[in-house]
């Protein structure tokens, strides 16, 4: 997984199925990067008929002006459905990071050099917060913590400015839960030379 440097162009892809808040997660990352004065392009593709039921939203963050606006080899992939995994996971750049919902995705860590990180986002959302709807925000927290692509507090600010006041507390909790979840996963993770072992961290308290 690359250490993002000041001049690097970092490409992220969030994928899943409609209704999982994929676009919102990508938009929050893009807004956080915008507020930090970075160059940002965010695109998405939707339309289940045309795309086989998997939708994606992508973000490019850079210091220099961004020309070609599409993501083809993401440095960081977030995958929240099996269909999205099958369609998009293989695109992840060697040396990149693939974060997925271990409760929804059966991952095959065949892609050499890609760090696999499976976490039970949906389950944690339901068990810990009783709100499946914040799965995307928990996943976002984990993505930020594991990738280091943006400072965690900057993204938290973007989360909070996006949601209506009455949902702030819930989203703040969800985001921080995601950060902690990823920190636990990092401890548990082991890597091998020829590929990576997917790890599934237990949900805190379960």
């Amino acid at each position: 997984m690359p250490e993002p440097t000041a001049s690097a162009r970092v490409e992220l892809r969030c994928s899943g199925s409609g209704g999982q808040g994929i676009l919102l997660a990508a938009t929050i990352i893009a807004e956080a990067a915008t507020a930090l004065g970075r160059r940002v392009v965010q695109t998405q593709s939707y339309g289940p008929e045309a795309r086989g039921g998997a939708s994606k939203a992508e973000v490019i963050i850079a210091e220099e002006p961004i020309d070609y606006p599409e993501v083809r080899r993401p440095d960081v992939s977030l995958v929240l459905s099996q269909a999205a995994y099958e369609k998009y996971a293989a695109d992840t750049r060697p040396g990149g990071l693939l974060i997925y919902d271990s409760g929804l995705v059966e991952a095959d860590p065949g892609a050499a050099g890609v760090t696999h990180c499976g976490l039970p986002f949906t389950q944690v959302a339901t068990d810990e917060l009783g709100k499946k709807v914040v799965t995307n925000i928990i996943a976002l927290g984990a993505l930020v913590a594991r990738s280091g692509v943006l400072p965690a507090d900057a993204v938290e600010e973007a989360v909070l400015s996006r949601v209506p006041p009455r949902f702030r507390e819930l989203n703040e909790k969800a985001y921080r839960l995601g950060l902690r979840l990823a920190a636990g996963a990092a401890d548990a993770e082991t890597t091998t030379k020829d590929g990576l072992t997917p790890t599934t961290a237990p949900a805190p308290g379960s």
Partner: protein, 396 residues
């Protein structure tokens, strides 16, 4: 959003904005106070944003019964004195052609945004294309002139909307913005110009007596005024051939028709140098040029950077104004380079035009893609490489 687009522009801070949103906000900044439209992917966000924003600033939003009614209502609102906008995509743009011709003939300032998608017919509603560039030029019947602008970024969605209204007011003509599904739905971090720094052409009243009003020579600040309906000027507006000075219809005299036809063409073409904008990138010493517009110019830009980094002298000519065609810039390019590569998301629509302006002075290589996917830098690079047969390309 924590901060409004207008506040961000005033404060000079970057905001994350979608291309379609940027068109809507640019329209507000340009003084647009009327929008009529009909929902169609991928343009609908322009209507959605304006249905909220226009009433806030005292403007009017109407969702009409179809695109024909939408452009007709825009013509009516403009004649009543409002700066008026409509937005659509391919199928709706086809329906609007009749009234775009009316606006052209009757000299009604207005702006039409076509967020291009794959076609013909329903085609690829959510995917980008550039198949309407000739429809923008020749879609309506009869001899006419038109101005069409092509944004390549979210920022240009904003600034070119303001520019489109300035041109439409100045030349009293419909102006078309050719966006596409990619640019329209893409979000970018943009720092918008301060509202006070934007040049906004205002609608003026002729400063003469209504009896002395002459539709051609009564100008204010180089702008052809359009006295509104319900004013002492008691204008007659018609789609018939009319006497260009008095405005009275006259279909019996060939000289009147010839005079009007020439005038309608010349008021645009005579001012071509003032209207046409082209961005030239790395054209200094370029041996090969890429002629690319809209979203494809983003890929072309990536190729120019890659090629230059390897010492291959590649440049780009990017028309911001597609119509009138930037003939002079293309001629200049043809004198300089040995090859012009024209990648576009259609088959040869602009490359024919480029060839006509190049007049054999350089080789023109066309490359078209109509599958709803943006042409990639790699595809363009593969066209560039054979033009440098002596060059040893490193892996990219």
């Amino acid at each position: 959003m924590a901060i409004s687009v207008t506040e961000a522009a005033k404060a000079g801070v970057p905001v994350l904005l979608q291309g379609n949103e940027a068109v809507a906000e640019g329209a507000i900044a340009a003084g647009v106070r009327f929008y009529a439209g009909y929902p169609i992917t991928p343009s609908t966000e322009i209507a959605e944003v304006l249905s909220r924003r226009l009433p806030e600033v005292g403007g009017t939003f109407i969702q009409m019964e179809d695109e024909i009614a939408s452009i007709a209502a825009v013509c009516g609102a403009s004649l009543a004195g409002a700066k008026a906008l409509t937005a659509t995509s391919g199928p709706g743009f086809s329906l609007m052609q009749e009234m775009i011709g009316f606006a052209s003939m009757a000299q009604i300032p207005c702006v039409i945004v076509d967020v291009m998608r794959g076609g013909p017919s329903t085609g690829l509603p959510t995917d980008p294309a550039q198949g309407d560039v000739m429809q923008a030029r020749w879609g309506t019947h009869g001899e006419h002139s038109v101005i069409a602008l092509v944004p390549s970024s979210v920022e240009e969605c904003y600034t070119l909307t303001v520019e489109a209204f300035n041109l439409s007011e100045q030349y009293r003509t419909p102006v078309i913005i050719l966006s596409d599904a990619l640019i329209g739905h893409m979000r970018e971090a943009v720092t918008l110009p301060h509202p006070d720094k934007l040049r906004v052409a205002e609608r003026g009243m002729p400063d003469c007596d209504p009896d002395e009003y002459d539709t051609v020579s009564s100008t204010i600040d180089n702008i052809l005024p359009r006295p509104p309906l319900g004013s002492p000027f008691k204008v007659h507006v018609t789609g018939l051939v009319y006497n260009r000075r008095s405005g009275a219809p006259d279909t019996a005299d060939p000289a009147t028709a010839a005079d009007l036809g020439r005038y309608l063409r010349e008021k645009i073409y005579h001012h071509r140098d003032a209207i046409v904008r082209v961005e030239e990138v790395e054209m200094d010493g370029a041996e090969v040029a890429i002629f690319a517009y809209g979203s494809v110019a983003r890929s072309a830009m990536a190729v120019v950077k890659k090629a230059r980094a390897q010492g291959a002298r590649v440049g780009m000519v990017r028309p911001i104004t597609l119509w009138p065609f930037p003939t002079a810039a293309v001629a200049r390019m043809a004198e300089q380079v040995r090859t012009v590569i024209v990648p576009e998301m259609n088959i040869k629509q602009m490359s024919w035009e480029v060839e006509a302006a190049v007049k054999g002075r350089a080789k023109v290589v066309d490359y078209g893609r109509v599958d709803g996917e943006l042409i990639t830098p790699e595809e363009i690079l593969e066209l560039v490489k054979p033009e440098f047969y002596y060059h040893r390309w490193e892996d990219t």
